[in-house]
Amino acid sequence: MRISWKWLNEFCKIPLSPEEAAERLTVTGCEVESIERPCSTLKGLIVGKVEKLQVHPERSDLFVAEVELGGPRVQCVTAAQNLREGDTVPYGAPGSVIADGTVLGKRTFDSVVSVGMMLSAEEIGLPGIADEFGILRLPAGLTAGEDLIKALNLDDCILEISITPNRGDLLSLIGLARECYGVIEGSTLEKQELKPPRIGDPGSVSWDGLTLADPGCPLYGLSFAPSVQIRPSPMGTRIRLAFSGIRSINNIVDATNYIMLVTGQPLHAFDLDRLPAREITVRGAREGERFRTLDGQDHTLAEGDLLITSGGIPVALAGVMGGENSEITAETKSVAFESAFFEPLRVSRTARRLGMGTEASYRFSRGVDPSRVLPTLSCLFEYLLKDGAHQVEENVRVVSSRSWEKRRIPLTRRKMHRVLLWDDLEQASKILQKLDLKEISATGEKRVFEIPTSRADLSIEEDLIEEVGRLRGYESVPSRIPPLLHGTGRVGDEVEAHRRIRVAAMSRGFLEIVTYSFINPKWVEWLRIPETDPRSRGFRLTNPISQDQSLMRTTLLPGLLQALQTNLRSGWKDPIRLFEVGRVFLPGEEGEDHRESLRMAGVSWNGKERRILHEPYLKDDVLSLKADVLALCGSRGQIPDFSAGSEPFGHAGQTAELRLEGKPCGYLTSIKPGILRELEIPGPVFAFELDIESLLPEKGFRFGQVVRYPAVYRDISLIAPLSRPAASVEEDLRKLGGSLLRELVLFDVYQGAGIPEGTRSLAFSLAYGDPGRTLRDEEVDAIHEQLRRNLSEKGYILR
């Protein structure tokens, strides 16, 4: 909210500079985001009076004015069409500075010298106050030669304050003045009391009735101006509205806005003659009902929206915006002013749904002060009287269905001390009374306060403690490390597992990335994930920022591949290995709403055709990545089993399924070349994804026996069908090798000439040993021979 410092000081005299006040307001909860001095660039401008005005002797599109400056006279050329002799205007002599920083001088227009310039509203930095095109014509009563800044009260500054949603009461000068009085030592409050209006006098306007047909509007008041003259607002009003960020429309609409800024109560003006009937009913909208607001927009309403209707026809969307059908126009002759209380949540819902954040809906959503609803109409009455040229009637027609009790809230010594470590109830009471809270009972341990209706945010004792705390200043609360530790803090398995695995990955050259949890839904297609796969059934955002970010990921792979693409597109050529740890979001099983699973995934790309010194050593393949996966799992003391597997996006011949204790825990694969082609990633790309939850139970690290007697080595070479995994051959060797077989290492795999088609030769080095003694050669020969016989019986061809 933008607040004029001078205007604010009319309601509360603040003995500080704007900067000092801003600092204090910020610390106590009204964050002042900036202090602007809208006219601070202006220098040397004065009021000039146009004494004579003639058409330029050589150019018919220009005028030559003789401007009186309180003594001297100068000659000025202008193209503006709106001047008359006798007008007073802003004038800048040579050397003075206008809003955009231009220093004025003398200029010649076709042989006529123009000294300085007569200025438009824009040139003095306030385009919003112009009421016509051309030079700004100043109100009567200003003297030629007078300082312009002083004359128009432009030496003001604007505080841009961000008001928290609980403090609707601060969206008014009266409310903010009260706050300043409470938080700024030495300030004095002015003009707080509002006069209640006269009610019940029938007045001169015949009126048939007000009906409240929806509890969303418990109080509605209407007053009338039977005869008005529509014209621009007085200059002072236009300037204040401009300073407050509100566009000037005409004197009637401006009046409602001006008064709203003072009391916080939004008002609406209907063209009385355009109301379909001399009757108003407030009712709930019907689902699908259509309404055109005065900004020309058509809206489809929903149940729950509140409508002001007249003769059955909607004339305003309550608390949000009036209708085009009854808005004030240049032809308006008579006006009805509305001031009402609308339920905050109702207005808030409508405004949010329709995206109509207006000054009115903003205030109604945060709750207006019900006690100001009717007095605001008498403020308006006074304002219009001053404006003159109107016939206004002070009498107000009112209908209400509810009364507002003032809440009473206790403040106890015990609770206040608990939070603030301070228990001076007497001082606390003084603080609260500055905020217009009335102490109605007092004992040594407890005070009870009556809360003004403007402070809807105060409802429990903690709220009062906050008021005391923030006004006293939180710097007065000491600082201590919380006592009473009940136990040690625990990082927990998930963080622990994540940390170990991440450090292991980084040590192996992987770069940690974090990508968005929402992805482009096209990835499901790009990765060829079939409908039967739960990973194709991710959750969609109903209101994404863009389609690219509209599906909750079911695998970490898209983020990694996309990061790879991003890097490649920006010209990255070196080998790169990326990993991410994060959650994926899967459809729930067995009545679960959904499942979130913590994953770790990595990709490796071998780099683009580029000469690298030690290239062969840097090339990854599925087996080199297998070593990485084993290392990552090893950091948790886990060793997964690898078996041939399949993934929709995985190379059919180069995909492994990973299991821990028989349960699937991830995959290792080379991405399908076809997919990489479509993604424009020159392959290959190797990838893995692990379920971190299955790595949570850290296997106790175990240590082996100390070996003191050297092993005896024998080799064995055998031929096995290609379809038989190496792991299963190893398993046979272990099973058949006897208890002295200590270790075996596969050292050669061969297929080709000399070996039957469909088979391959595997050569192992076997170590036999006994922990208690050195084995003799003959002993080992016998065991080894037995193993060979066993293998033959099993069907292996031994070489």
Partner: protein, 345 residues
């Protein structure tokens, strides 16, 4: 006897001379053969001892053996010298330019936010907080209602929410875990909740996904003083030195009182009016906090008359950006190798 002694002296002299001039292990080997080999001079003399009269044999034998030991020791010493010289010569030619690029893989690299998050976790674990987690896909109840934010409340405007096709939403803060944790563990309670949160907002300083770390302490007689102490300790730890702080009044529906914590700008300490980090204010907004609202305690099944507590929520992304001097939040989530490796890899 004299002849033998003369011979021995002669051999010793020759031998030592030749030894001095032997420059390689080959020439050394030749010397060894010449004197100590099967037909070596010394060996032959030993064999010829039998020709001496018996009474002279012991003395001659002893003299010869001494000579033999002497020669062996000299050969050994010389051979060590030569081996070392030869090694040195070989090492001089077997040269590796250690400024060549390494072979194999180096250190990968960490993500600044994950790293910062871990550092923050450790600081609070040290103060007795344990890590708790909750779902990122939440329901309206936990994300809003149980946190004292009724439907259509203007406070919801503070957090523009993503909704899902299953009627759920993406949590807009880590606060929903507060209520879940209270219901699960009850009071007293000290937890921190690190995690991702989502808001429908995207510009240079807003990302639709970002990180938060929530903290909650519930006990008997908890004061704002405890909150200040805890968070001041944190700030000192994360930025490496104690920094001034100030607590401003603010508003969050789930805390009462509500505060925002600013810390002294660690770059300029408020001394540089055109400081880029604090924009000349001297303060950095770092987190929101407050005393847990009694309604929230009630939703968590905790008696607000007996227990109270405080909570805070901070942005590790922002802390990381401050720590590492980063200016654009969104690049944190794009996986640029050039950014994450600082240009090199």
């Amino acid at each position: 006897m004299e002849t033998i002694n003369a011979k021995i002296a002669n051999i010793r002299e020759n031998m030592m001379q030749e030894l001095d001039s032997a420059g390689s292990s080959e020439s050394l080997q030749a010397l060894r053969v010449r004197y100590l080999g099967k037909r070596g001079e010394l060996t032959q003399m030993l064999r010829s001892l039998g020709n001496l009269p018996p009474e002279k044999r012991p003395a001659a034998g002893q003299a010869l053996n001494e000579l033999r030991q002497e020669i062996e020791a000299a050969l050994e010493a010389r051979s060590l010298l030569i081996a070392r010289a030869e090694d040195e010569a070989r090492e001089a030619t077997d040269f590796v330019d250690v400024t060549l690029p390494p072979r194999g893989r180096g250190w990968g690299g960490f993500h600044p936010v994950v790293q910062t998050m871990n550092e923050i976790i450790d600081i609070f674990v040290g103060m007795g907080f344990s890590v708790a987690y909750g779902p990122e896909i939440e329901d309206d109840f936990h994300n809003f209602e149980a946190l004292n934010i009724p439907p259509h409340h203007p406070a919801r405007d503070m957090q523009d929410t993503f909704y899902l096709d299953n009627g759920r939403l993406l949590r807009t803060h880590t606060s929903p875990v507060e209520v879940r944790a209270m219901l699960r563990w009850g009071a007293p309670l000290r937890i921190i909740v690190p995690g991702k949160v989502y808001r429908r907002d995207s510009d240079q300083t807003h990302s639709p996904m970002f990180h938060q770390l929530e903290g909650l302490l519930i006990d008997e007689d908890v004061s704002l003083a405890d909150l200040k102490g805890c968070l001041n300790t944190f700030v000192g730890a994360i930025f490496g030195r104690p920094l001034d702080s100030r607590f401003r009044a603010s508003y969050f529906p789930f805390t009462e009182p509500s505060l925002e914590m600013d810390v002294e700008c660690f770059a300029c300490s408020g001394r540089n009016p055109s400081c880029r980090i604090c924009k000349g204010t001297g303060w950095l907004e770092i987190l929101g906090c407050g005393m847990t609202h009694p309604n929230v305690l009630r939703y968590g099944g905790i008696d607000p008359d007996r227990y109270n507590g405080f909570a805070w929520g901070m942005g590790p992304d922002r802390v990381a950006m401050l720590k590492y001097g980063l200016t654009d939040l969104r690049v944190l989530f794009e996986g640029h190798g050039s950014f994450l490796t600082g240009g090199g890899y």
